[in-house]
Structures are given as structure tokens and as C-alpha cells.
Symmetry: C2
Subunit: 397 residues, 2 copies
DNA sequence: GTGAAAGCGCTAACAG
DNA sequence: CTGTTAGCGCTTTCAC
């Protein structure tokens, strides 16, 4: 109380909320110099413990918050990271994918004392956005959730000095990225359907200009060719990740009598289920369905969806952590992180075992391969692991 | 060093991305002073047109981006707004509500040259978050999507000098806000069901500690009492905005034989539909269902959902615009904006008209009233309008 | 261990 | 209309 009065006197009885305090104020109140306060705040070891305590006390009392703009200006680092989601895909906000990703990113940022700046980059603003992100000095690094094959944002970022990481891979550029092995995952899903005796396996792909769609389609193709099955064009329909798109695609597929369908995400799989129901086809008896993502609603469809789980939220967190590491270690080598997926078996595919209890030929996994990049990478998690997010380092080739 | 770089630039030999340029560089290159460049960038009218062109040219050539941290520091304004979503509700990311809101906010920010900082405030981090937001000098203002009755973030914001606007209203504090009239909307929905002859109208509410849930419940109550119907406790079930929650709530309701149910959001309504289907009850023949929000999937449920539309995305945009206005005009009076809702009639409620073609007693709207605040407010949009987002000013009382 | 001093890149009076 | 001059609040050498 007495202390408070003293503070007010020194501060000229200024209400705290009226005007933010500065380092200088803290310095004055604790009888040290501005530099020392700065050192305390930045956990510099060159401060006598006694001094540190004194300063911390004042900071606490006064609830001091350093001005981040000033800090950013002086230090060249803001502890803000940018999250860029191209709007061409952000439209798909009925898909829980982006929300989950955002949650993962936000959570990790909180945990690591960073803030997140969100850009839903609409096409018209894209060029401006790119520049803003690159050189406005506000973000230390950027996470780009790019699904487009040839995203100009990625190219610009690549050519700049801005640290960034891609969620998803890039077909040509050797950038830092974090992805699931979509090819492998889709292949496994397809193989699973074949193992259950399905003969006419269709697929509903994502938009063809997106890399994840491409990879999942390639996995489907490989899965078929693993058993020397041909790819029948009439059993391939392009969707747009939405439920409506999945529905429409399925309607196009039905006349060609598929007995199974692999949808490139859960939302489209749900749409496919509607179409099948409408066509009086039973799932899984007449047509088996497998999705991708294992989004929260996958277990609530009719029937519950067998799907390839990817840990979306964790991927967001991991992207943050990796990005911070990249920022902290400029010039370090490219990070290539592949996150494990896991086939979650429910009833839509016609297997009644409620858990994938191994024991079958899933023990012979297809070979891990990043389709266009034959670079060494980190594998994060493993389908066989209990915990899908234990980091594991793979020896550099 | 810098001089050398500039020479290189003039010679066109240097990759532009190597080192961010400053106002000073632009000034030197265009033969004016730094202040003039600053004036050009900030569209100050006090610049000769010729000079302006010259400077703009250089800026273009060089693709110059002013450093926002520096600008923020000097000008006391960053053109960044914060969007705060309490995580207690962010969990509900399967509900398209927040994604849509974020899209609206982001879009408007892009359009108005602002950036958005996203905070999904997790409980553990809340206190830190509040302080960070308040005094780190990084945001000019804050949009809070608060649904909790007594959100500490709102209180802190209210006590500070930080400009902010609430999406949703506040039960006690006279803060800037933007909301739909949930009471009126829910009342209208309930009345609609009664008009269709339903006698045992149930409701699935949101969590009771949230203001929107409360208001919609009040509207339901008023709707019943408009026709002197009692509120039967066994016909009221609390949900949590999720599909699973709606499902569970409906299962609790079914034994009490409701012939209609008003769900406080579409997602819970969808859950209710599942429960009804499972119980072999026909919608709308046995039980009519009305939702709230008109989220993208409302038209894709089985049967398509009658629902009270609120223009979520537009509300996000409007919040941004209002906030910017608040920032630009400090000390102006409290903004109270109420956005119109509209009953979208589909088949889940048992009316076959595909459009609400007026003509009926909907022309007698219930009285507009903000439950706890009897303050003058702006009404935005009107159920009768074609365009729900035309701003209209209501005379101050 | 601590303080003094020099900026980070920009805006904003204030002169002219 | 334009340039000069002070800072904004912080970090960071560099002395002591």
C-alpha cells in the first residue's frame, strides 16, 4: 500500500490505465537503468539475482507489458508468426480441416509465447498480401497452408529471406514442409478395400490443381496397380472437398456400378453416403466407403466412416514449433517432416472389427516415399505407434 | 554498406529481396526527403502531384513496404485488429459459426488494409492473453466473440482504454456490440411452429452460461406465452452447440412426446434429426424441427432444415468496420448494432412453401427489444428487406 | 553486473 | 509544398 503511494508520487499520480508504462518507468521505480530492466525481461543471465528480484517485483506490481512494436523494431524480432490460408481453399470452411489447423497453430503459439497473424488470402488481394507479409517486418516467419500445385505465395516466400514452412509439400521447390504421406495413405486405404474383396473401387478426388488431391489420387492408382488392377476413368470423379461436391461426384459414379469408393476427404465421403442412400444402395453391403482425415464428424455419419486419420491439429502445432526452430536457426538445412496417418476402421467399409488389431498383412507396409522429393526427411509418428506424435529422426541418406 | 546497396539497386544489379529498404532509401532514390515519402505513402494531400508521381514510381519499382512495427511505434497505430475467441467455445469448431465469422473479419480487414491477429484464448492463458492484448501496443482495437455471460476478457477490456466491440451483447456492461436480436428471433421461430399448429414445442438450448443461449431460450419462452402456453420443463433440454449434444438432448426429449423442437443452432438441430430418425419419428410429420444460423449445411440435412438465418460472415465484416470507426473516433458514443435475422423455411417444419412469401401474419412482427439494455441502437438490415445488410439508422430514443 | 548511448524505421510537429 | 528535427519504446554494443 505504502509502496503504491510512493509509486503514484513518482509517477505523478497518473492512473495506470491511462497511459502505458515504459521500460523507463520500471527502471525509475526499481532504481536501476533501462538496460537492466530490459535484461531482466529478456532473461539475460548478467543480472545480479537481487536486482532481478527487485525489478521483477515492480513489473509484477504494475502489470507491465513491453511494447511489442518497439521491441520488434529494436530487436528485429516480433514473436509473431503469420498463418496464410489461400482463400481459394478457405471457402471450404464447412470442412473442419482449417479450423482444426488454426486451433493447432494458435494453441502452440500460445504455449510458446508467440502471437498469430491470420491471412485468408483472397485472390484479388494476393499480391498485396504477399508483399505485406514479406517485408512489413511484422512477422518472424510464416506458415502456409497451401494446397495449390503452384501457389505464387510459396514461390514468393521461397525467393525471399522470410522463414516459412509449408503444410503440405511442394512439387518442385525444396522448401521446409510438414505433410502426411498422402500417396502412401491413399494406397493403404485402397489396399484395404481390395483386401476386403472389392473389385470395382472408385475414387472421389479433390480439385486436380491441388497437390494433396494429386497425391491421394496417385496413392489410389498405386493401390490398384499393387494388385494389377487397371484404373478405370469412369470410376474416377473429381470433387471439391465439399459435401455437395462429394454427393455430385458419387451420383456420377453410381451408374458405373462401383462396389467401393475412396473419397479424398471425409466431407466428400459424407456427401457420397447421401447419394448412395438416395440411390437405395446399402453401405457397406453394396458399396464400401472410405474417407480421409478422420474429422470429428466421421464417427457420426450413417454408417460411421472408415477413414484415414491425419492428426490435423497436431500438425498445426508441429508446424509452429518447427517454424520457431527455423527462425532460431537461420541457415539450417531444409526441414522435411512427414507425419504418420492411421486407418481408422469403422463400419462403412464392411469390416466389423471395431479396431484395426493388426495381425493381418497391414504389417507389410508399403514403402515410404515422398513422390517427387527424394530427400531425407523426418518421420513423425508411426502407424504402429500408440502415440502418433512422437518425433523420430530418420537418418539422413 | 547501405550506400553500396542503393547503388546496386540503381544499377538494377541487386536482388530486391536481400534487404528491406527504408523510407530513407526511397527518399534518396527519388531525390526528396524522408518526410515527403512518408506523406506520399500516407496519402497526405500536401504533396505536389509531380513529386508524388516521382516517389510513387520509385516505390513501385522497388516494391517498397514500410515497416509496420516502426510505423506503429511512431504513429501509435498499427492497423492491426485483434480477434479474440474464447477457447471454451472455440472447441465447437465443428460448428461453421466461427469459421464464417473469421472469414468475415478477415475479408473486411483485407478490404480495409488492416491485418488480423487471432487469439483463441484458452482458459489457462487467459490472463496473460488479456494483458498482452491490452498493452503490448500491437493492436489498435479488438473484436471479442464472447458468448459467456460473464467473460473476464470483456471486463478487462471494458476497464481499459482499448477500443473494442463485442459480437453478441453483454448482460450488464454498456459496451460497443453487434448482435442479432436473439430473443426476437427465437420468439419468431417458436411462433412459426405454433402457427403451424404444433402444441408441444420443445427446445434444445445452448450451454446456459452463454448469453446467446439465454436470449434464445427467453425468446422461446416469450413465443409460448404469446399464446398463453406454459413452459414445460421436460420439454427443455440443454445442449452444447455440437451435433452430439443435440442428439443427446433430443433423445432426452423424445419420451415426452414433443411435436416440434426449436434448436438453438443448426448443428444441434442436425443432431436432433439423427435422434428422431433413429427413433423412427418422421420429420416434419411427427416432429417439426427449426434450427438457428442457416449455416451452409442447413439445406443439406434430411429433411432440409427450416432455420433462423443470421448473416454470420457479414456480422464479422460489420464488426471490423464498426471497430475501425470506433478507433477513428475515440470518445464517440457507444455503438449498439442489431442485425436482422430471417426465418428460412425449408421442409423440416412442415410447411411446403419453399419461400417465406410473406402475406401471412409475419407482417406483424413482434416488437424489437434488446432484453437487458434499453438503449438506442442501430438496426442493420430488416427482415422485410431484400438485402439484409443495408445499414439503417434508428433515431435515438 | 550495470549504465550510457546509439539506433531500429517511421511519423509528426515545426519551420520555412 | 517540402525539409529538419524530435522522438515512439525497446535492444544492444560498449564502457566502466
Amino acid at each position: 500500500m505504502l509502496k503504491k503511494i510512493v509509486e503514484w508520487l513518482i509517477l505523478g499520480a497518473l492512473p495506470r490505465t491511462l497511459m502505458p508504462l515504459t521500460l523507463e518507468d520500471i527502471a525509475r521505480l526499481s532504481g536501476v537503468s533501462r538496460s537492466t530492466v530490459s535484461r531482466v525481461i529478456n532473461a539475460d543471465s548478467n543480472v545480479k539475482d537481487e536486482t532481478r528480484q527487485k525489478v521483477l517485483q515492480v513489473i509484477q506490481n504494475i502489470n507491465f507489458q513491453p511494447n511489442l512494436a518497439a521491441r520488434g523494431l529494436a530487436a528485429g524480432r516480433t514473436n509473431i508468426i503469420g498463418l496464410v490460408i489461400p482463400a481459394s481453399v478457405a471457402v471450404i470452411f464447412t470442412d473442419p480441416y482449417f479450423p482444426l489447423l488454426i486451433q493447432g497453430v494458435s494453441g502452440a503459439c500460445n504455449a510458446h509465447n508467440h502471437s498469430v497473424m491470420l491471412w485468408l488470402a483472397e485472390p484479388e488481394y494476393e499480391r498485396r498480401t504477399i508483399r505485406q507479409i514479406l517485408h512489413n517486418g511484422l512477422v518472424d516467419g510464416v506458415i502456409v497452408s497451401s494446397t495449390l500445385m503452384d501457389d505464387p505465395i510459396v514461390k514468393s516466400l521461397y525467393e525471399s529471406k522470410m522463414p516459412f514452412i509449408l503444410i503440405g509439400r511442394h512439387p518442385t521447390l525444396d522448401v521446409n514442409y510438414l505433410d502426411v504421406d498422402n500417396v502412401r495413405a491413399a494406397r493403404e486405404a485402397t489396399q484395404h478395400l481390395m483386401r476386403l474383396g472389392r473389385k470395382r473401387i472408385a475414387t472421389i478426388t479433390g480439385p486436380k490443381n491441388q497437390i494433396a488431391s494429386y497425391d491421394r489420387y496417385q496413392g489410389y492408382v498405386k493401390g490398384l496397380s499393387d494388385r494389377n488392377q487397371p484404373v478405370l476413368p469412369e470410376l474416377v470423379a473429381e470433387g471439391d472437398w465439399t459435401e455437395a461436391g462429394g454427393y455430385t461426384a458419387m451420383r456420377r459414379l453410381i451408374p458405373h456400378k462401383p462396389d467401393a469408393v475412396f473419397a479424398a476427404n471425409d466431407v466428400m465421403a459424407a456427401g457420397a453416403l447421401s447419394a448412395l442412400r438416395e440411390a437405395q444402395l446399402r453401405v457397406p453391403e453394396d458399396v464400401a466407403v472410405v474417407g480421409f482425415d478422420d474429422t470429428p464428424n466421421a464417427s457420426r455419419t450413417q454408417p460411421p466412416l472408415t477413414t484415414m486419420r491425419q492428426p490435423i491439429q497436431s500438425m498445426g502445432s508441429l508446424a509452429v514449433e518447427t517454424l520457431i526452430d527455423i527462425i532460431d536457426h537461420p541457415g539450417s538445412e531444409t526441414r522435411r517432416i512427414v507425419v504418420a496417418t492411421e486407418l481408422v476402421i469403422r463400419s462403412s467399409c464392411g469390416t466389423l472389427k471395431s479396431k484395426s488389431e493388426g495381425g493381418d498383412d497391414r504389417k507389410n507396409p508399403v514403402d515410404l516415399s515422398i513422390p517427387t522429393l527424394n530427400q531425407p526427411y523426418h518421420l513423425v509418428g508411426n502407424p504402429a505407434d500408440e502415440n502418433p506424435i512422437l518425433r523420430r529422426r530418420v537418418k539422413n541418406a
